[in-house]
Symmetry: C2
Subunit: 233 residues, 2 copies
DNA sequence: CATCCACGTGTACGTTGTACACGGCGGATT
DNA sequence: AATCCGCCGTGTACAACGTACACGTGGATG
């Protein structure tokens, strides 16, 4: 019930709203949150709007905003020139880098169809890398999705790892082990799960696993390569 | 503000509440929903409770309920006897079946640490299948996670495929193609994404892809096998 | 018979996405 | 120059969600 006189007539609205500004703000918010979560209210606040409703004129809905965010990240992924293997390998590595920058992207990629312009361009390049082989349409797309599935799956695992690490507020591996310690110790004393326990008590469990993203990617490429019948390359 | 007289003194509460009944009800609800979503209110209604708060005495929180649901499904996965490859292959196939029954499980598996009794038992069996090789702890777990990562990644893709299919309310592939048709046609006319368009307009794109779950699983097992140095088997 | 406690309930709060109608500014039209 | 129209940001409002809290009741226990 404040008096009209106190109102400033034209709050000097910071800058024109736009789809680009909104998407950029949403991405910044998602990047800053371990879980990568975004609320319309938070985005509105960041673009200087006083109400979440202002966003709806530009992005339609929260799902629409999610689609736009995802497509932006699709645009960060590239397929390098070269033979099919160089192309798909580069796709995997470049996707992995993008997913490490934006782990929330893995969740969106799994939950929204990739129909934005950047996504289509990426699929187009990836399919182009398989030109020159006599492949059925399903097989061609299957090869691309095999690689991308690995990228997004690894991304989700990364998202969860970071979230779990922060849930207990512990950055280092040693602290993490300490948090799970009492539970594991109880299990150990009960004598069940002996193989699991042996793993859990082995300090070497924190070593970098040889089944790295890249190693598995190469296994997949080996498998794809075995199914390729060359026609001209 | 209804009068007391109308109240029935003891609503013949259907049956005793219990953690098992609650988890079972939640799983039924998740199975019945394409997105696999569950609300505390829906679970409460299904177990015959008049308020969601009754559940909290048994499951602690919604995340707790999710953990219990996930562990129940971990219990449906088994590692068959045999050599390492039979074990891990069976793990993958049995996991894939469980994930097809409960696609929401893939999401939970990615977003909650597998510390329930069934999950631990499963990891224990899987690690046991790798006994007899001189593997570091990280490498051993990495092999198991390679297989499970494939299972859960494929499960998430399945979840999204089913959800997208119902979003437009179309069960058949032809209808699905019809829904995306106008959009694809516009793209086609603009002449961009030629390789993608060629795929989209190829009826063979609906063929079963040769990169099936099982095929990729075998590729991964090939890769794992190449890293194993046998000690006694 | 008195006591206690495990249980299910009802009420209530904060947060979320978003529907809807309004006021005001700028540019096009007359 | 006066008028209108359409775009834009705003405020209010609501339904659904997870869940904190305090209460009554009934059966087991002393």
């Amino acid at each position: 019930m404040s008096l009209v006189w106190f109102d400033v007539p034209a709050p000097p609205r910071g800058e024109q709203l736009s789809r680009e500004r909104i998407v950029a703000a949403a991405i910044e918010i998602a990047d800053a949150d371990v879980r990568g979560e975004v609320t319309m209210r938070a985005v509105a606040a960041r673009v200087g709007s006083s109400t979440p409703m202002s966003l709806y004129r530009y992005v339609g809905s929260k799902d629409g905003l999610a689609d736009l965010m995802a497509d932006e990240v699709y645009g960060e992924i590239t397929v390098p020139p070269g033979d099919w293997r160089a192309g798909l390998r580069g796709l995997g590595l470049s996707g992995w880098e993008a997913v490490q920058r934006h782990p929330w992207f893995a969740r969106l990629a799994f939950s929204r169809p990739p129909l934005g312009p950047h996504a289509l361009a990426l699929y187009d390049s990836a399919l182009a890398a398989l030109d020159g082989f006599e492949l059925g349409a399903a097989e061609r797309m299957g090869a691309v999705n095999t690689v991308l599935g690995h990228v997004f799956g690894s991304g989700l695992a990364l998202l969860e790892e970071r979230a779990m690490r922060q849930r207990a507020g512990l950055p280092t591996d040693e602290d993490l082990a300490g948090a799970a310690g009492p539970y594991l110790q109880r299990i150990t004393e009960e004598g069940r799960y002996p193989h699991f326990i042996r793993w859990a008590n082995d300090p070497a469990r924190l070593d970098p696993a040889p089944q790295s993203f890249e190693r598995i990617l190469d296994w997949l490429l080996d498998g794809i390569g075995a199914t390729l019948v060359t026609a001209q390359g």
